[in-house]
């Protein structure tokens, strides 16, 4: 049974896919180390995902509890997104970018869609690197 099905809450959001990914790694670790308690779970999510951090944290806590995993603390951090142009070296942040709602929504689902909607503010190129803000990472302290 997939997560969220037949449980107390039924989530319809994209955040669920991210929570499932996090939970898969955490539960694998719990099985491997034969532990049911973690001191700290720190999730880092890139700003490009634009996930609802509080919702994601609550969903993760809810699912961990349903799996019988306890913990002292669950933290969800957001890593700010920065770009650097490969043509002219200009650097800028996602915060500087103004996007219509549909484009923000697209980047939320598929962060690489940023290349479809954002161009270098200096030279207009789409050839730039996402230097930060694309991460999906979890650190677990036993």
């Amino acid at each position: 049974m997939a997560l969220g099905e037949g449980r107390r809450l039924v989530f319809r959001l994209h955040e669920l896919a991210v929570v499932e990914a996090l939970l898969t790694s955490i539960l694998n670790l719990a099985n491997e180390r034969k532990v049911k308690f973690f001191k700290k779970i720190i999730v880092s999510i890139g700003e490009l995902q634009r996930l609802d951090r509080e919702l994601l944290r609550n969903m993760l806590i809810d699912f961990l509890s349903q799996e019988g995993i306890s913990f002292e603390e669950v933290i969800v951090n957001e890593e700010p997104a920065f770009f650097q142009c490969n043509r002219c070296d200009f650097k800028w942040s996602f915060e500087d970018v103004r996007l219509p709602d549909y484009a923000r929504e697209a980047v939320h689902f598929l962060p690489e869609a940023v290349y479809s909607f954002v161009r270098c503010p200096s030279c207009g190129s789409r050839d730039y690197d996402v230097k930060s803000g694309r991460v999906v990472k979890v650190n677990v302290e036993l």
């Binding site: 499932e20 990914a21 670790l29 690489e112």
Partner: protein, 250 residues
Amino acid sequence: MSFTFEDPRVEYVRVKLARLRSVLVFVSGKGGVGKSTIATLTSFSLLSRGFKVGLVDMDLTNPTIHVILGLSLSDMKVVEDRGVKPVNIHGVNLFSPIMFIGENPLPLRGPSIVNALRELLAISNLDGVEILLVDMPPSIKEEVLEIIRYDVKPVIVTSQDPLGLWSAKRLLRLLKDEGVSNVAVVENMAMRRDAILGDYVRSLGYTHLGVIPFDQEFHKTIGDVEGILASKLYGNIHSITDNIINFLGV
């Protein structure tokens, strides 16, 4: 003691794909060999045999399956439901980057290609899908290296001309060297009925699915699903579907 999972999506995608009955990925070393067309028509052929089918257009920078199926941008809207819901077209569940980028270009360098591929597989809602078909871009690089990390069965699509055959052999050698155990080859747009790569493919322990003759009229059906399903090409793919099902082991 602490543990860091640099990208939990990899294990998640592995688990998610392992829940399916089979995952077929259409690859080629060279473009223009009809990979997207074969992947799309195979989806319908498997559907007609009673399988619940998902189809992913993983040609991230140049997706075209929606064009084959005659879907407009307004048909390709994102619906959020435990991830992203597929667009259902005559029973086939389609996922495409078009849902996110519309008609805008999506120029991706290497690491972004891998990230986008993982993300698309991670967010696709595959509930109810039994067999997933993934149409890959022409590549013997990161896309292929990434997709064979998972439990998938690659199908190499090749034309019968020397350039296509050369690329197919190179890709076969890569997959063999990487230890991929289930690989199949289909010769497409064929000008002769006999298989050129049959013996070579079997010598590697792989499967030759068959030869698909060139259908000069097929391009007239692009965008019209009824026309596609009435085409000679579809009939020819349908005739090798038993081989595909055997290869899938379902």
